[in-house]
Every structure is written in structure tokens, then in C-alpha cells.
Chain length 329, copies 2
């Protein structure tokens, strides 16, 4: 395996110069021809620096760990996630993602700590515990930041408060004169940390209305489950439903129509996510549109936290919501 | 920061024993009480092993690098991806994902090589070049494996040959008596490595039929783009369309219906992915269902490649396809 000494010899420069060039050190001025000579020598020999050796020498790493989502990501989240990685890389961090599927929170924290990251962006879904935050900090993480619906003691929080989604849907349905509101709770595992706060937010929106009633409705993401729910629809006495997201809403809307329930006349149906596909149904699906700050902004928050490791945990609410009324409500 | 010597002192064992326990070394027998004492001491001190230091000592890492997808993943891919991570972890690999958005192929390979992985699962989408494979191997990767539609010289390939999807759709449409076939090519960036082979596969399916005609149709994923395409639909003289996937198919199906084109009477429409949502349209959408092997099987292929670094590159075709005829064809 080629070493940096080999590169230095071939390029006719010192090992320090090789290190400055290949590690993109900005504090040291290196002339463009020298920079090019080093890069060419490294390419010819197939030499690349060793990130772990470098961070052991430096006593700290530039690695930021991000969680691997265990569910398929929507387009919005996927976009922000990619922007964030890209922005962190421009700030000279090495971003790697690490899955924790099937691990307990403390196992996950230990596994993350083994990689000695300078910052950890953990899922704000209950995986990470205060004890896990402690383990990460003890092993050198300067910033532990959760990204998701929940906070954890000791960590910064980029908070995507899902209650806002439920509040927004509830306010819209009340505005449309609906008061007997069903709320879909997906039966599929992994949704609880999103569906519970959405339900709570919708309840909160109806709190001041004595005439309002909120009924949780379990629904699996398949046609038989939807048919089963709809078979007892008229007994439920609902005039509207917030169906968790657009996909569950489309499933339920179709099942209601197949059972002869008029939408929105008899039951208003509302989704969330503002998927293009929701616009293709008739009636067109009303929805809650969500907005997140740019990945650039999130990267700056992470970087600031790394530079101020003794700072008190900060909470940044991130999730913007807006009702998009179409024809189904 | 606590060290393994601190743990050894507190547990009253040697540093070697601490290392055996915390690194899950299976070659060495350690009694359960000792194992527990070490784990408790480590927990109390908040000590976790340093993965990079360990692999520097050992001269090799157990890190497997996987690409971070730059597009939202479908449920099928997301499921297999999670299974694969889980299965690799059971084989005692540390799996991390690494994004390469906005990097050229050789930059990406160098960035991956800096982490000194024992294996790299790279996207088989043209990002990795033969030169990149060389750089990775020179820096110690025992296996370089692509996962996706394309092969790269020098690397093993877990090949998801997208031509099979086009062939399957083409055979179904011919079977339905359709011969003038439009093929949707998404306008959105990042789809080329999937859409080009799907188109090629469909062309291949019609090759022996002198009466067949295949017409590529550019389509953006929005309603105005669909309306624009449909406005000149009858001039195109097509009797069917393979619409890349279910989402584009649903968009196009709705636009055709809005323009008064009868589906499937005048134009048959076929998607791919077998999304539940496609079943909610009327007519119900015909589609191509894809199948992938289990993550366990993929993990075993990767592990075998690591154990036999001198072995010739293997190609494993992975993608199974099946037409699912419903009402739109």
C-alpha cells in the first residue's frame, strides 16, 4: 500500500506539504503548481489519506454521524437530508450514516461512540436516551443533536414537532364546519412516534370546542383493512377524517367511495404531505403541506453546536405547516 | 476520557480481557461473570472501544461502506437495504453509509477510501469508475461491489438489470395486442440510469415484431407536463404506453382521462413498482412487480467476496420481474 512518504518522494516535496494538500488545509498557502504535483503523484500511486489515522493524530475527528432512516423517506425529507450532507461536507465534515435497526437505544449509542464522531445527529424518535447522550459525549462527541419529533435531555434538538401537522388539519376541518373527526393511526410498526403527536395536535386544535369529538381509527395500509374500517363507517357517526398522510388518505377515500359514502358531502377527507398523486384523485385530496428549513441552515446549527460544546442544549422548532384545501374537505 | 486500562482496573481483569469482551471476540472463551463484570465497568465509566484505533492495530477494518441514495427510496429497496445492513451487522461488520451527492466518481472513491473500509457497496449507477475501484483496492478494500443497474470493471456486481423491467412490460403489451408503444422517459435528473435500460429492454422485447413501433416520450413529474404530452397524444398514433413507473403512470393516466382518451380502449397504460396506490385508480393500473433477494443473501455474497479478495469479479443478477395485469391494459 502506498504511503504519504512515497507521494512526497515522487512529487519532490515534504511529507508535511503532502498532508496539507491532501487534507485541504486552508491555513497553509501552497502554490497551485505544487498542489497539482502532489495531487498527480497521489493519483499515480493511488494514495489517499487515512481518515482515522489523521483523526487519531489530531485527537479529534471531523466525522458527523447521521441516522439511516428505517422507513422509506418521503421526497421532502430526502431532499433536506441530502442538502444537509452536502452542506456539512462543504464545512469540511465527513458525513456518514449509521443504521440502528434492531438495536436498543443504548446499544446504538455505544455503536455510534465507537466511531468517535465529533457530532451525532440522532433520530429524535426515542432511540437515543439521556444515558446514550452521556456515552457519546464521554467518548468525545462535541455535539449531540436529535432530528425528529422528540427531544432528549442533554442533547440539542432540531425538532420536527408532528403535533403541528395535527393542529393544522384540525383547524382546517373545524373551519369547514366539521366537528366529529376521525384520526387515522397507521397499524404498521415504526409510525407511532409520528402518529401519536399528530393525533395529540388534532385533539389540541379541538380543545376549546365543546361540540367537537375526536375518534382514533386504526388502519393498516392495505385494501382489506380499509374495507373493514369503512364497513362500520356510518355507525361511527363521523363527518370528517384526518387520515395521517396522503397515502392512507387515498386508500381510505377510495374505500369510502366504493362503499357509497359521498366525499366530501358526507365525510371530508384530509391527508398530509402534499403528494402530487393526491391531486389525481376525484375529488382532489386536501392536505397539509410541510416545510423544513434548508439543509444549509441545519448544517450551520450543527457546526455552531460543535464549536460550542459547553453550550446549553438548544431547541429549534423546524416544521412549518400549511393547510392546502382542495376538493375532499 | 476513560480508557480500556481504567475499565481493566475497575473490573480487576487484564486489558486483553477487556478488549476480548468489548470487541465480541468469539475465538476466546471468557466466563459469563467476567464478561458481565467488564461490561458493567465499561458502562459505569462510559467507556466504548475506539473502532478506528482497533482497526489501525489490527491492520484491517470491519467497516462496510454503503452508498446513501440520493433519490427517495421505494419501499422495496428500503426494505432490502435495511435487511442487508442488519445481516452484515450480524456478520460482525460495521455498516456505514456515505453520500456522494455532487462528487465526481473519482472524488467519491477517494473519499470512501479515506475511511479504509474492508468492503464498499457502491451504487451501480455509473458513479464508480474502474479507476475508482483501483483506488479503493489499493487502500485496502478487500471487496468492491456495485449494487444497481450497471457493472464496473474490476468490481463484483449485484446487478439489478433494469432492462428486465422494460422487457416484461413490452411482452405484456404485445400479448395484449398492442404494437405502437410509447415509453415514458422521466425528465427529472437522476433517473437516466434506470430509464435508459428500461427503454432498451422494451425495445428488445419488440425486436422480433416487424409491426411494432417504440416511441420514447419525455415527461416531467407534474400536471402541466402531462397535459402538454397528452395535448398531442392522438398525433402520436400510439395504442399503449409503458410509463416508467406507477407514479408517472398514474399522472399520465389521469391526464389521458381528463383529455377524453379512453383507457385501456384507446390507449393501454402500464406502470412498474406495484404500488398500492395504483390499485386505487379506475381503471386499476397494470404494473410490473419487482423482486429482490433477501438482505441476508446479499450480505452473504458481500462476506464471501471479502473472504476471497483475489477472486475474479462475480456478477449476480438480482432483479426478478413479473407482469401484474389489472384493468388499464
Amino acid at each position: 500500500m502506498p504511503t504519504s512518504a512515497d507521494v512526497a518522494r515522487l512529487a519532490g516535496v515534504s511529507r508535511a506539504t503532502v498532508s496539507y494538500v491532501l487534507n485541504n488545509a486552508t491555513a497553509v498557502r501552497i502554490s497551485e503548481p505544487t498542489r497539482q504535483r502532489v495531487q498527480e503523484a497521489a493519483d499515480e500511486l493511488g494514495y489517499v489519506p487515512h481518515a482515522a489515522a489523521r483523526s487519531l493524530r489530531a485527537g479529534h475527528s471531523r466525522m458527523v454521524l447521521m441516522p439511516t432512516p428505517t422507513m422509506p423517506m418521503g421526497a421532502l425529507y430526502s431532499h433536506v437530508f441530502n442538502e444537509l450532507q452536502w452542506a456539512l461536507r462543504r464545512l469540511d465534515y465527513t458525513v456518514v450514516q449509521f443504521g440502528s435497526l434492531g438495536m436498543s437505544g443504548d446499544e446504538a449509542a455505544r455503536a455510534w461512540a465507537e466511531l468517535r464522531p465529533v457530532a451525532v445527529l440522532a433520530p429524535g424518535d426515542g432511540t437515543l436516551t439521556p444515558r446514550g447522550v452521556h456515552v457519546l459525549k464521554r467518548s468525545g462527541a462535541k455535539a449531540v443533536v436529535t432530528l425528529g419529533p422528540q427531544r432528549v435531555e442533554g442533547a440539542h434538538a432540531l425538532l420536527m414537532d408532528q403535533r403541528a401537522v395535527g393542529r393544522c388539519a384540525g383547524a382546517h376541518l373545524l373551519d369547514r364546519g366539521r366537528t366529529r373527526i376521525g384520526v387515522v393511526v397507521p397499524r404498521e410498526p415504526g409510525y407511532e412516534t409520528f402518529s401519536a403527536p399528530r393525533l395529540a395536535g388534532l385533539r389540541a386544535a379541538t380543545e376549546t370546542r365543546a361540540d367537537a369529538r375526536v375518534v382514533p381509527l386504526e388502519l393498516g395500509y392495505d385494501e382489506p383493512s380499509a374495507a373493514e374500517l369503512v364497513a362500520r363507517w356510518r355507525q361511527l357517526g363521523l363527518d370528517s377524517v384526518f387520515a395521517y398522510n396522503d397515502e392512507y388518505a387515498m386508500l381510505l377515500l377510495r374505500a369510502l367511495q366504493d362503499a357509497g359514502v359521498d366525499v366530501p358531502g358526507e365525510t371530508a377527507v384530509m391527508g398530509a404531505d402534499d403528494l402530487l398523486l393526491g391531486r389525481l384523485l376525484r375529488p382532489r385530496l386536501s392536505t397539509v403541506r410541510m416545510e423544513l428549513p434548508s439543509g444549509q441552515r441545519l448544517a450551520e446549527l450543527v457546526d455552531r453546536a460543535v464549536r460550542d460544546p459547553a453550550g446549553a442544549p438548544e431547541v429549534h422548532p423546524l416544521l412549518g405547516t400549511e393547510a392546502v384545501p382542495r376538493e375532499s374537505t
